[in-house]
């Protein structure tokens, strides 16, 4: 609203009262020592002046404010008007331009696919082209992997916010996993850890091979059983054993002194094909030799020594000592690294014609796991 600021010499309320009585609206009157200043509407300026003149009140018009006054004052300034019009036109044109396409929220879907779809509707930079935002949204949602899209125009940019579809969850089929955990060995339980299901054994309990250790179910209340995946680890003491019988007589093969030799010459192997070794039991020795006088070549010489079986008496106890060490070494080799060695011992039984050795190894190991 345009206003005119007046200043009058008379500083009493009388001036205001006569103005308002004649229908003038006075705004923001300020009383100073020697003057009174106030505002009236532009359309009431001449009425105000007429009233003040009528009552012989000395007045001054200090200033005029407002858009209409500004326009009146600058109507003859062509440059300003042209500039203003140009600015309005520029603003209008600029607001109808699209310079950018901003896509957000893409992780899995290829950005190029979304851009291609968007370019079907608008390809920046473009001027005075109407974009059907709803249709663009619908087309973007049709792209595989996109759950929702929001398109909005902000200034000269088209902002596309995309919500991608969530990846399909990995459905785990646990139907085959509803199995109880059973013992792999005859054992005595030392430790039990349960991550799922119901434990069926306690520490110190002796179990047989194949016995259930952890059941694949839980009790939700007294009468309801819920099947679940059994999980956990059960450790127990296991005794590994090996045995061997040693007889007082041992069968050994001794050489008779008869020898048979043959040569494997390169490119002449077919010569030896039909030859047979003339001994039923024999030992062999293979060596490489050089044959020929002038023209030397390498050949393989195989020597067969005839042997015959012979029974010899042995010291059973000495042999047993050796066998015990050997059996323990063999057992150690067969044991896994994660088996905890507890203790080991052996047992010798003297029979009528032989000696029987039994060795034992007590280990703590995993007997059931899932």
């Amino acid at each position: 609203m345009s206003k005119v600021k007046f200043s009058i010499r008379n500083k009493s309320c009388f001036s205001i009262n006569i103005l308002i009585k004649k229908g003038v609206t006075v705004a923001k009157p300020r009383f100073y020592k020697d003057r009174l200043e106030f505002f009236v509407r532009l359309k009431e300026q001449y009425l105000c002046q007429k009233i003040l003149e009528e009552y012989n009140i000395e007045y001054k018009v200090l200033s005029k404010r407002g858009a209409f006054v500004f326009m009146q004052r600058n109507l003859n300034r062509a440059g300003l008007i042209v500039g203003f019009v140009a600015a309005v036109i520029m603003l209008f044109v600029y607001s109808n331009c699209i310079f950018n396409l901003n896509i957000e929220g893409l992780e899995e879907v290829d950005k190029e696919i979304v851009l291609e779809t968007a370019y079907e509707h608008i390809k920046p930079p473009s001027v005075f082209k109407k974009v059907d935002i709803k249709k663009l949204e619908e087309d973007i949602i049709k792209i595989e992997g996109i759950a929702n899209a929001a398109v909005e125009k902000g200034g000269t940019t088209i902002n596309i916010t995309i919500l991608e579809e969530l990846p399909l969850p990995n459905i785990e089929d646990i139907k085959d996993e509803l199995k109880d955990i059973t013992s792999k060995y005859d054992s005595v339980i030392t430790r039990i850890t349960v991550t799922g299901g119901t434990p069926l054994v306690k520490k110190g309990q002796a179990v047989k091979k194949g016995q259930k250790l952890i059941g694949a179910y839980i009790y939700s209340d007294e009468n309801t059983t819920v099947y679940t995946k059994a999980g956990g680890q059960v450790y127990g003491k296991v005794w590994l054993t090996k045995s061997k019988t040693i007889y007082p007589q041992k069968l050994v093969y001794v050489r008779t002194g008869k020898i048979y030799s043959e040569y494997n010459i390169p490119f002449f192997n077919w010569i030896n094909k039909k030859k047979k070794v003339p001994f039923s039991h024999y030992e062999t020795k293979t060596e490489k030799v050089v044959l020929g006088g002038g023209m030397k070549f390498e050949a393989e010489k195989i020597t067969y020594f005839e042997t015959v079986p012979k029974k010899i008496d042995i010291d059973v106890l000495k042999e047993a000592e050796v066998e015990i060490i050997e059996l323990f070494d063999r057992l150690e080799e067969e044991m896994d690294e994660d088996m905890k060695r507890v203790r080991k011992w052996f047992d010798i039984k003297r029979l009528d014609k032989s000696v029987k050795i039994d060795i034992y190894y007590e280990v703590e190991m995993l007997i059931g796991e899932q």
Binding site: C13, N17, I20, K21, V26, A27, P29
Partner: protein, 88 residues
């Protein structure tokens, strides 16, 4: 008081339905609108006296400022502390 306004009071009708006379509306003690005044009697930033038909309305406060005034209403802004009536 006019007959109509007397009827408004006696029949417990809303006060906004009253016609003529003086009507004062105070907003948060920061602004006051006085309708039906008869002119400004005295003005200072601490006190404004408004002429009514048969009385004067005295507004006391701090930084009192007349936002606008016309033949019907006067709107005053400022920290209003006291409103009193002075009969002629």
């Amino acid at each position: 008081m006019s007959i109509y306004n007397n009827l408004v009071f006696n029949t417990n009708m809303p006060l906004k339905d009253s016609i003529g006379g003086v009507r004062v509306m105070l907003v948060d003690f920061s602004g006051i609108l006085v309708e039906g005044h008869k002119g400004l009697f005295r003005y200072s930033p601490n006190a404004i006296i408004i002429q009514l038909k048969n009385a004067r309305l005295i507004l006391e406060g701090e930084n009192l400022d007349i936002a606008h005034i016309n033949s019907d209403e006067i709107y005053i802004k400022g920290d209003i502390k006291l409103i009193t009536r002075e009969d002629k």
